[in-house]
C-alpha cells in the first residue's frame, strides 16, 4: 500500500475544446487550483487533493463532519457553477477521486460514449428548481369562512358533530386544492422544459419556510428559453399567492438531476 501524497478530484466533464473560466477559483482542497484533463474528445475538470484529507480513511471521517461537508460541497458547486458557462456539463457526484491523472484518463476512456451522449443531450440546457410550499393552517383558514356559515344552519344539538364534520371537510378540501395546485404547476412547468423530474419533498425542519413542501421539481430548461421559463414561474407564483401557496425558484444549476444514474466499473 503505497500512499501517495496527492490524488485527483474530478468535478465534472465538458466537451474537449470547451474551457470553463476557472481563474481565481480554488478546488475543494484550497491549496490547489483547477486543471483540465482532456482525453478522447472529453475534458474532466479536476484539482489535486491531499490524501491525508481525501484518502479513503480520512474521507470516511470527514464526510461525517458537517462543516467539512459544507465547505467541500460549496467548493464543488462553485466549480460546477463556472462550468455552466460551457455549452454542456456533466456533473459528477461529490468526492469522485482518482489516484492520479492516468486513472482519470482511463475513466474518460471507459465512459467516453456515455459522456459524449450526455453532453449532446444536455447541450444548451441548465437545471432549475421549483418548489411549492403550503401552510395548511393558512389554507384551511381561507376555506373555513364560507363552510362554517353553512354548518351553523344545522340544528343546535348536532352543532358539535356538524362542526367536526366540517373541519374534516375543510382539511380534505384544502389538501385536495394544494395537491391539485402542485400537479398543475408541475404540468405547466414541464411544458416549458425539455425534461422534468419530481424530487422527494424536503422535510419542514430543513425548509424552515413556514409550511410543507408539496412540490420539489427539477426542470431541464434550454438556456435560451430561461427568461420564458422564469416568466411562467412568476405567473404561477402570483396565482399561488392568491391561494396562500409560496413558490420558490432557484437556478440555473448544473444539470445534476438530469444525468442518468450510472455506476462505472472500478
Amino acid at each position: 500500500m503505497t500512499e501517495q501524497a496527492l490524488a485527483k478530484y474530478v468535478y465534472c466533464v465538458v466537451a474537449a475544446g470547451q474551457r470553463p473560466s476557472l481563474e481565481g477559483l480554488m478546488g475543494v482542497d484550497p491549496a490547489f487550483g483547477l486543471e483540465v484533463v482532456t482525453h478522447g474528445g472529453v475534458s474532466a475538470v479536476v484539482s489535486d487533493v491531499r490524501l491525508e484529507e481525501f484518502g479513503a480513511e480520512a474521507l470516511k471521517r470527514n464526510l461525517e463532519d458537517l462543516e467539512w461537508l459544507e465547505r467541500t460541497a460549496l467548493a464543488h458547486n462553485a466549480v460546477l457553477a463556472r462550468a455552466l458557462a460551457c455549452e454542456a456539463v456533466v456533473p459528477l457526484r461529490l468526492c469522485t477521486i482518482f489516484s492520479d491523472e492516468a486513472h482519470v484518463r482511463d475513466m474518460l476512456e471507459r465512459e467516453r460514449d456515455y459522456f459524449l451522449e450526455s453532453l449532446e443531450r444536455l447541450r444548451g440546457h441548465a437545471e432549475w428548481s421549483v418548489k411549492v410550499l403550503a401552510d395548511p393552517r393558512k389554507i384551511e383558514a381561507r376555506e373555513r369562512g364560507p363552510a362554517l356559515t353553512a354548518g351553523a344552519e344545522g340544528a343546535p344539538g348536532h352543532e358539535f358533530f356538524a362542526r367536526k364534520k366540517n373541519e374534516r371537510l375543510i382539511r380534505d378540501e384544502a389538501r385536495a386544492m394544494v395537491e391539485a395546485a402542485a400537479q398543475t404547476t408541475h404540468a405547466r412547468l414541464r411544458e416549458e422544459a425539455a425534461a422534468a423530474v419530481l424530487l422527494r419533498p424536503q422535510h419542514p425542519d430543513v425548509s424552515r419556510r413556514s409550511g410543507e413542501m408539496v412540490l420539489n421539481g427539477a426542470y431541464l430548461v434550454e438556456r435560451s428559453r430561461a427568461a420564458a421559463f422564469e416568466a411562467v414561474t412568476q405567473e404561477l407564483a402570483e396565482r399561488h399567492r392568491r391561494i396562500s401557496l409560496d413558490l420558490e425558484v432557484s437556478g440555473p444549476w448544473a444539470p445534476y438531476n438530469f444525468v442518468a444514474a450510472r455506476q462505472g466499473a472500478t
Partner: protein, 91 residues
C-alpha cells in the same frame, strides 16, 4: 445501518451531536447544494473514493440530520431517463 454520526461544531459549543439541526438561510442553500452534489450527479467510482455504499450511508445520515428526504437513485432517475430521452431531442 445508522453507523454514521454527522457532527456539527457550534461556535457556542452547546449543541449536542444528535440535536444538530440546520436552520439558517445559508443552510437551506447548503441543503440545495448537498441534495445535488451528494444526492445527484453522475456516480462513477473513483479508485480512491470510498465504496458507494459508504457514501450512500453518509447521505442517508445527512438526510436524517437535516431532515431532507430525496433519494439518491430509484424512480426519479428512471423518470429522468425516459423524460430526457424523449424531450431533449430537437423537434
Amino acid at each position: 445501518m445508522g453507523a454514521v454520526q454527522l457532527r456539527r461544531r457550534q461556535a457556542g459549543g452547546d449543541m449536542s451531536d444528535r440535536g444538530a439541526r440546520l436552520t439558517t438561510q445559508r443552510d437551506i442553500d447548503l441543503v440545495e447544494i448537498l441534495d445535488r452534489a451528494l444526492g445527484a450527479g453522475i456516480v462513477i467510482t473513483g479508485d480512491v473514493t470510498l465504496s458507494l455504499a459508504d457514501v450512500d450511508l453518509v447521505y442517508l445520515s445527512l438526510r436524517l440530520v437535516v431532515g431532507s428526504v430525496p433519494t439518491i437513485r430509484g424512480e426519479p432517475a428512471d423518470e429522468v431517463h425516459t423524460l430526457a430521452a424523449g424531450a431533449v431531442d430537437p423537434r
